[in-house]
Symmetry: C2
Subunit: 381 residues, 2 copies
Amino acid sequence: MTIPFNKPFIIGDELKYIEEAVKSGKISGDGLFTKKCQNFFEEKYSFPKVLLTTSCTDALEMAAILCDIKEGDEVIVPSYTFVSSANAFALRGAKIVFVDSYSDNPNIDPREIEKHITPKTKVIVPVHYAGVACDMEAIMNLAKQHDIFVVEDAAQAIDSYYTFADGTKKALGSIGHFAAFSFHETKNIIAGEGGMLVVNDEKYFERAEIIREKGTNRSAFFRGEVNKYGWVDLGSSFLPSEIISAFLYAQLENLDKIQSKRIDIWNRYMNGLNDLMEKGDIKLPIIPNYSTNNAHMFYMVCRSYEERTALIKYLKEKDILSVFHYLSLNKSDFFLKNNLEIDIPNSDNFTDSLLRLPFYYELTEKEQNLIIEEIKVFFDA
Amino acid sequence: MTIPFNKPFIIGDELKYIEEAVKSGKISGDGLFTKKCQNFFEEKYSFPKVLLTTSCTDALEMAAILCDIKEGDEVIVPSYTFVSSANAFALRGAKIVFVDSYSDNPNIDPREIEKHITPKTKVIVPVHYAGVACDMEAIMNLAKQHDIFVVEDAAQAIDSYYTFADGTKKALGSIGHFAAFSFHETKNIIAGEGGMLVVNDEKYFERAEIIREKGTNRSAFFRGEVNKYGWVDLGSSFLPSEIISAFLYAQLENLDKIQSKRIDIWNRYMNGLNDLMEKGDIKLPIIPNYSTNNAHMFYMVCRSYEERTALIKYLKEKDILSVFHYLSLNKSDFFLKNNLEIDIPNSDNFTDSLLRLPFYYELTEKEQNLIIEEIKVFFDA
């Protein structure tokens, strides 16, 4: 029996709610279950406004339109991230400025951000890697000082928090101007593909709704605020089907159960692999004091590309599927078409050496023990 | 009991297939059911390449990227259409050139297209209104003559065909360079929200896949054609969740059953309202000889805005929900921000006078007879 890297799951009333949605007479976007999901997030995490989208990518694209990105604007993005963090802004004509991570944490380093701010910088995109918070206080201070938007790429960061120096604790996604979350099948809470935009500044609420509704003021029309609705702005169809929202809502009803299980899984990896870390064979995740741990992912960092490749191969022979993650975007073909090659060493190190272990709701203790055991066997050899 | 304008439905194994998708271990995009749907369409309609998307809007946006729309390019679109037909190109910086419909058919009039072609025209977007074919032979001839792309907005046009002068019959969506279809809950085949792009020219297959996969060559990687995948182009996340594709596939298995029922509904309206047409009270749809009828919608055209408003009100009092459709896009706030007001009379007439009657799979003969009866009572009064 292979232990996959990821495994989607049904945990509650997913199918029942889909049937209910159909029977309610509306399965296009913004029906009952979309509203239930949005309300859930707004209440639980004090997000001022939540709009479900078809993907985290789409939520980032909405943010890019809301930031009014124009040809030549600069957007600061970590090099170690998923393509969408950059693509969403590149699509609007932005010049992407890639910066480095910390050496011991894949998150973007605010000191590196500061070095790359110019008068053209319009947005900073902190990506909360593995659900671990970026240093949002430092980033927000930079943004304020230079009058720059902050779009949190919170794809992996559901149910995680940042604590400010004064002790204030805020949910990731509620700190920047906008934030984008994912419900892709690999995330803690899933809908196969899916996402949401969080809008933290009230002055963008109305335009966010319009952009999401194909550039029309349809939402205001249904609330009776305007007499007819029409084309008033750029926009796209960012609304998920109610089939997606119904599935998602059943997952949300079980959020605490899912999170508690995932934290157990995470801790079991951490404890199980601690010896190897102490021996210096591997590095394990660091959770800074200002961040909580949402147990989105468990990764380890090998000493080299070759070692990681050998470990992946070894585990695969044992029917355990472990996977590497991002490739430094500054070395991508698309970036190098228009830019010179630059050196972003920490990102390159994570590109070469970071390994993600199987992690999903139904992963059993027995399977996990086997994975830990095999990793130890590999390093003992 | 109210007769709604539309009503989504479960017809077969929708829920079973969703459960199967989850159990298969993959519900993110491009899983088993997405492939089944794509194969179904490619085989049934001889579409060279089909890519499911999260909406018809998204498929149009993919087409706009594939056409390499740049700031200032002109795109010819009927004024009587959904905002997405224009928005998808406006998002890429195009200047939208709105043209008129025929006087007796909401489809774009090729003579009007010809008048508006300039050296900057890059794309023509024929919208097959109500699933009735635009005059594709005339449009393709114009496009060829001027080296212009044709993107069929086939949102409503599933299972409909065009016959060329030489007798060749081709499915709508297979004639232009690209075509976009919708599976929105109001369409013949539904997934709540959903769509697909058809790519008819082989030379765009690879780039279409890349754009759909966030600008990465991931599809080629999974086919073993490249060693690793990375960021190679602009792109977005256009893939639907397998939850959507599983739902859709169950509908596709019942396509013939759905179509046969819809054609009965359509004919019943046509026959039932024929008297009123002959008396000159209303106009009814015209299906040109070159087009089939896919029974997507039943509309009638009143003599005035006032008469239509009164009829909607009358039917609503009888618990029958009928609805008007598009508002001429050349009169939208967004267009008028950057353009002078122009006169597009036939589009304005359909804006004011076209009325859509309740039309869905589960509409009963009894309900339909009631609707027809009440319309007659209204006009007799």
